[in-house]
Symmetry: C2
Subunit: 341 residues, 2 copies
């Protein structure tokens, strides 16, 4: 019932390998008129090659995995920032003739299984912790190219693309400092000595050093970057940080929650406290006050991640260094000079 290569070959009066050559564009090996005739028959019959047969025979699938962490029973743990990236990755892969397998992974050991089960040509890792990525061994990836987004892990297996987190945080802090703030809270997830959050912390620190100050007086609030946690922090702000006049949150979604909690508690933003986020989500411009934040190049991240991965897939060399994308400060209404009380 399925139309196969063989059917086309018979209808065209040629061998299957000739049809195969036509389909794969190896037209140097086939006369122009044969190509023409075969093409026509393929269209007439609506022939679609079997990807699994092709994958099995050629040992390449034109399938790329997008692997995302997910507790086994949970939905994918996709932050608002990462959601935007998925659509872009699909688009880029499609444009380059690949397909996307989206897969939640509850244990990094499953990564190897995913790669081998589908003979994936490559995979993009999105949203994993640096520890998880650093723990990846060639034993699990095998020879399959894998590339991580937003990773600082040193391993050569996954070098990928990320934003310039250091500079982003430095810009954010410099903006607050230039407005006159000195006691600025750093709010973000706990971090070790490597990773996105650590880089942002270093950048934050650097901005102070740039003007001869230290962050000694700046409290660090450790919390996961969710809206809910932000609200909680905003509500109890006065008790926790009576002297602070500003906060830098490592994610917009957290910053948005903080603002909401503060407004509930009667703390004016930016009159009493200025808030800066990181990501520049769509919604960051929808809330009141509109959020001052650091914009990342999401389209660039997705596009370059795919391009770099496919370079490897198609036999190219892996760059030793990750691609670092520029960020920029977007000044909106959640920041102002500290009130002069």
């Amino acid at each position: 019932m399925r139309v196969t290569l063989k059917d086309i070959a018979e209808a065209a009066g040629v061998s299957v390998m000739t049809v195969s050559n036509v389909i794969n564009g190896k037209s140097a090996r086939v006369s122009a008129e044969t190509v023409e005739r075969v093409r026509r028959i393929i269209d007439e019959r609506g022939y679609v090659p079997s990807a699994s047969a092709r994958s099995l025979a050629a040992n390449q699938s034109r399938l790329v995995g997008l692997l995302v962490p997910a507790a086994s029973e949970d939905s994918l743990a996709i932050s608002p920032h990462n959601i935007a990236i998925i659509g872009q990755i699909e688009r880029r892969l499609r444009k380059r003739g690949y397909h996307l397998l989206l897969r939640g992974v509850s244990d990094t050991a499953e990564i190897g299984e995913a790669l081998r089960s589908w003979s994936l040509d490559g995979a993009v890792l999105l949203g994993f912790l640096d520890e998880e990525i650093a723990g990846l061994h060639r034993r699990v990836t095998g020879a399959t190219p894998v590339l991580a987004i937003d990773s600082y892990a040193a391993g050569p297996l996954t070098t990928g693309v990320r934003s310039d987190d250091f500079t982003g945080a430095r810009l954010a802090a410099a903006h607050l400092l230039s407005l006159g703030h000195r006691r600025i809270v750093f709010a973000g997830p706990s971090f070790t000595d490597v990773g996105v959050v650590h880089e942002r912390f270093l950048g934050f620190q650097q901005a102070f050093e740039d003007i001869g100050l230290s962050i000694a007086d700046c409290p660090v609030e450790t919390l996961n970057t969710t809206h809910e946690n932000g609200v909680a922090l905003g509500r109890c702000w006065l008790g926790a940080h009576p002297d602070a006049t500003a906060v830098f949150a490592t994610a917009d979604i957290l910053a948005i929650g903080i603002i909401e909690g503060m407004l509930e508690a009667g703390i004016g933003v930016p009159d009493r406290v200025s808030v800066v986020g990181f990501d520049d989500l769509d919604i960051s411009a929808y809330i009141t006050p509109k959020l001052t934040t650091i914009a990342q190049d999401i389209v660039g991240k997705a596009t370059h991640a795919v391009d770099r991965l496919l370079t490897l897939v198609e036999g190219g060399e892996r760059s030793a260094d990750p691609l670092v994308l520029d960020v920029r400060l977007v000044t909106r209404n959640s920041t102002a000079p500290p009130s002069s009380r």
Copy 2:
């Protein structure tokens, strides 16, 4: 280099078909001790079956497509509402032992190609227009089960799951009417006589009829449901609808834009105009004022869509009727009685 069935069979001293039986759980055909021994060797060697070989031989792939509209050069056209669904669909498929192929489709003709190329066991259509779905022929889907989310198209090929749009709109309008509003703008995309928006319009109308009124005085604003369009409408509200005291927007993202535009123009929400949305996005609770809206059961939509699809995949019958999920009114701060001026 790849560990194959044959390798396992040799190591275990049995035939490949015995190993195959063990893997596929057909343990009735194998002695318990053989099962045990084979299992151990599989673990030791880290054997992972080849999905493409299996797909080719068994004519079933355990792959399900999630097909989403996308202009060819564009990113996936995923509304905030649909984004939330994707993660849930992946989770449910994974739980049931299937994998997800995410694919942008720029022309419905590509649907057939996607199905056949990967021998997909089934596919979920997300975000297509009813006209597109209605135009689908068995010629393109073949024998592959396909299920549409949020479709009212009558064809038996795609019957799926959707929310109770009629009731949702009716609840929204009834809420506004009970507050005392009479001149209420209906804002949403253009619609024909079938589809989500049409149903919401009917529900809107019904709420008026329920209390013996007509919608004769209610203007309809036709615009695509984007934040941007909402802002534009909100800004020019006074000129366009000086007498209206409320608006029902068919999507939260639109409602959020409308509120923003109104606030910019100095129109108080809900003091001067009440706004109701539809979807209950996360962000709808983050904005000020928090949005009154109709909540849909997103997890239910995704879960039931997958379950219904897999019923078909596994040989079950297609229900003649779509599954209709309950909706509920979430009353927040964007609605109030009309001001008594």
